[in-house]
Symmetry: C2
């Protein structure tokens, strides 16, 4: 799956706009208003926009247009005598039609790449790094998840005796992850015997996943001449494979600080508190609705959820930019749940920049993973 330039927003099937196409000027004004509001976070007044952008029209005219835009549902104003604020619909139209396609600056791209090549070459590290760097650069909440296989398949098994009754099990799986597990034995075993067992199982299990291992464990129980520890090891291995398949996909979350510094969170303590609590508990599943993850798994396209698209009440006034990516190791017999780069911020977020950034980081992560894990022999 190649991250496509294609952009999905919810509601995009609903072409409610056909009835009232926006004139060029009107669209231009909408764009200016949205850009200005994104920048200043204050309702934008007709007069302000005229002066700031040196429009060839009077405030009254602009007011007229703004009024029309409000009728169309693209703008609102918080009270009679305040400037205009984009509505969710306004943002949606902005993202779909008004805003151009942006890329991250080359200097920034280079600097980010540099940091990634400095880091230790492990997916977890990259994911963590991506979340931190991106969060810092955007000042928003960033959630980055690694792609992970649905099932892990054994590649190599090592058993290291720590003492008579304690063994360290190391499993290298096909997907180049590594799992370690301390294993207290039910009965002692000789070091030599343990080594033999490890090499034998390592051969036997190559390419197998949890269900296969379970099957092997069942057979080992029936076979008369096997060491009792063998069954125990197989059993533990199966458990560990399952457990780690779960754990492989845990996302990194960063940027709570920047997020809380956004003006929309300064005044609403109880909403802030909820959000802090979610992040504190690493509850990524509550921050990114599972429905979108499913869609993304199927179509692999970037998604932008704006405002009340969001099912969680907590994030009513927030938007989510989600850029999925997969490793190229994906094959029919080892299906994979894609990773993603998610940016969460107030609906008043810098969409062009955030979308470009999420796309760039997701592509970079994909590249990095492919470069290192892509070709296995």
């Amino acid at each position: 799956m190649q991250p496509s330039g294609d952009l999905r927003t919810e509601h995009n099937s609903v072409r409610a706009m056909t009835s009232e196409q926006l004139s060029d000027r009107r669209a231009g004004i909408l764009q200016l208003v949205i850009q200005d509001y994104i920048e200043t976070a204050t309702p934008v007044a007709s007069r302000h926009v005229v002066e700031k952008y040196a429009l060839p029209a009077s405030p009254a005219t602009i007011r007229h247009e703004m009024h029309a835009l409000e009728q169309g549902g693209f703008l609102t104003h918080p009270h009679t005598s305040a400037g205009r604020v984009p509505s969710n619909r306004g943002y949606r139209h902005f993202v779909q039609s008004l805003m151009g396609h942006a890329e991250l600056g080359l200097a920034e791209q280079a600097s980010v790449r540099h940091q990634f090549f400095q880091a230790a070459p492990a997916v977890d590290e990259w994911v963590e790094l991506a979340a931190n760097v991106l969060a810092r650069s955007l000042g928003l909440l960033v959630i980055v998840a690694p792609p992970h296989p649905e099932r892990l398949r054994v590649r190599q098994l090592e058993l290291i005796s720590l003492n008579e009754l304690l063994v360290l099990m190391i499993v290298v799986v096909q997907e180049a992850r590594m799992i370690r597990q301390l294993m207290p034995l039910p009965q002692p075993i000789e070091v030599d015997e343990l080594d033999d067992l490890a090499t034998r199982l390592s051969w036997m299990l190559r390419g197998q996943s949890a269900p296969d291992v379970r099957e092997a464990a069942r057979q080992a129980i029936d076979a008369p001449d096997t060491h009792p520890v063998e069954h125990f090891v197989l059993d533990t291995l199966a458990q560990v494979l399952d457990r780690d398949a779960q754990r492989a996909g845990v996302p990194a979350i960063a940027g709570l600080g920047g997020m809380m510094a956004q003006p929309e969170f300064q005044q609403v303590p109880e909403r802030s508190l909820e959000l802090i609590e979610l992040v504190d508990q690493h509850a990524a599943e509550d921050l990114i609705p599972s429905g979108v993850i499913e869609e993304v798994t199927i179509d692999g396209a970037m998604h932008v959820l704006i405002g009340d698209d969001h099912p969680t009440e907590l994030l009513q006034d927030c938007s989510l930019v989600l850029a999925p990516y997969s490793s190229s190791t994906i094959t029919p017999d080892s299906p994979e749940i894609p990773g993603y780069v998610g940016v969460i911020g107030p609906t008043r977020m810098n969409y062009p920049r955030n979308i470009a950034a999420a796309r760039f980081y997701s592509q970079l992560l994909q590249e990095m993973i492919d470069a290192v894990y892509g070709v296995s022999r």
Copy 2:
């Protein structure tokens, strides 16, 4: 080092109190005021305390005593017509002399133990778990760090060929940690040769730490008949040992949500924001002053820092309970930096409970580590 029941607070050498010993009644009132304030977070009035605790005296009398306590520096009041609030000195006296010795309830102890035995047996997991469970139970910020050796010593080395030019290096160190490192090779090497190299180096390096490995690398360069990859492997190994010694001690932080829910943070957005930012960046070193860590490394005793003991301005109105612990694997030739369980909350924290909890968790962690890693053969 056994976590001792001994309790240190800063300033405890200063016996400024000798000049004015508190009468029994006065001390009792101080205790009531502090307990009440800890419970309610509102300034406590003379009348309130009389009614709530059915004191055999009138509000006026209590007022008199409170006045005296204020003269002595144990209480303050925020403004003329508010109840009394404990001062830092008041808290300090409370912790040192007034509050009794508390233990965690047996039911809670059992439940926590249970959770620990459920978890995967790895120090990192325990540390993470301890931070989460404790934070949730106290509703405060909790920082838990694992003890970690100053130097890592090699126990076993594995080299797993992923493809022609990419090798996964796995180092098991004496301290039962495991390090993995992906290593792009400067030139290809046969799989058999790689296996040989691994077993040979594994023997050769057993018990050695980074400086020794560096030395070995230097010798390998001079020796004429060694495969050029050998030097490269040794070099990487030395780097990795150093890097991981750093990384081994990273603390887990949890409980920001509960902390921000404390009334003292509801009204002060900019202070909250700073704190959120520190936690977001995992800046444990800014939350726990390094001076205390040093002291703790030397004397191994619990410490309680109250209010302006804290050098960081940010935590002026906070207290820190710090319970250090070490693994028993510590020997003269492998010095260890102790781990700790730290609880940070407003100075108005439940000291007896928090101290008991920190002590219990630190002892539990020590037990767990000793049970699994203590005896190595």
